[in-house]
């Protein structure tokens, strides 16, 4: 119930291509779905997040698509750049007060120049 499943484990995309990472959750009490980006030797940094009252959120080249009925959400990176090479984690939590994040297993993204 508390798991968030993320795929793929690793992804290689050519520069300029679209990177797509998928996540699925079980707990319907989750109502906040962030994506974190982590570079080697650094802590995760919040990239973009969505609440379940919208089906899509876009910030620059990054878009989250959210399917509440399927309990799935995905990250799309348009015009992928070598600087986007990092590990990406999806996560889920509640919103009321402080809430622990439940993380996916991570996707190591490599953008080839």
């Amino acid at each position: 119930q508390q798991q968030v499943k993320q795929s793929p484990q690793s992804l290689i995309v050519q520069k300029g291509g679209i990177s797509i990472i998928n996540c699925a959750y079980e707990n319907t009490a989750f109502d906040y779905f962030p994506w974190y980006q982590q570079f080697p030797g650094k802590g995760p940094a919040l990239l973009i997040a969505i609440r379940p009252d919208v089906s899509e959120k876009k910030e620059g080249r990054f878009t989250i698509s959210f399917n509440k009925s399927a309990k799935q959400f995905s990250l799309h990176i348009m015009d992928s750049q070598p600087g986007d090479s990092a590990t990406y984690f999806c996560a889920a939590s509640g919103v009321q007060g402080a809430q622990k994040l439940v993380f996916g297993q991570g996707t190591r993204l490599t953008i080839n120049p």
């Binding site: 974190y36 650094k42 995760p44 984690f89 809430q99 439940v102 993380f103």
Partner: protein, 114 residues
């Protein structure tokens, strides 16, 4: 400082020794979290503190693990009688009261148990 600060950045210890890891949250943040990240894995929740409320310890893997926080400031994570399976990066995050679901992470402490 401007961000979450963790120390030490790296710690090598012998099996059976105790270790203490430190986290300085962003000033004014009421909530503080500890996570563990094993090599190639996602982040695993350990414990969180929210103001003066009792901490949520539900993620601590064994009684060898404990954590303390003084008010809304520094926190220490202590691992007693370390085992090789404790080797991981330990990450601390903090969040403000107004938007408690947004967590800001430190760079972590890489713990290696030999």
């Amino acid at each position: 400082g401007a961000g979450v600060s963790q120390s030490p950045s790296n710690k090598v210890t012998e099996k059976g020794k105790d270790v203490e890891l430190r986290c300085d949250p962003i000033s004014g943040h009421t909530a503080l979290y500890w996570y563990r990240q094993r090599l190639g894995q996602g982040l695993e929740f350990l414990i969180y503190f929210q103001g003066n409320s009792a901490p949520d310890k539900s993620g601590l893997p064994s009684d060898r693990f404990s954590a303390e926080r003084t008010g809304e400031s520094v926190s220490t994570l202590t691992i007693q009688r370390t085992q090789q399976e404790d080797s991981a990066v330990y990450l601390c995050a903090s969040s403000p009261a107004s938007r408690g679901y947004i967590q800001y992470f430190g760079a972590g402490t890489r713990l290696s148990v030999l």
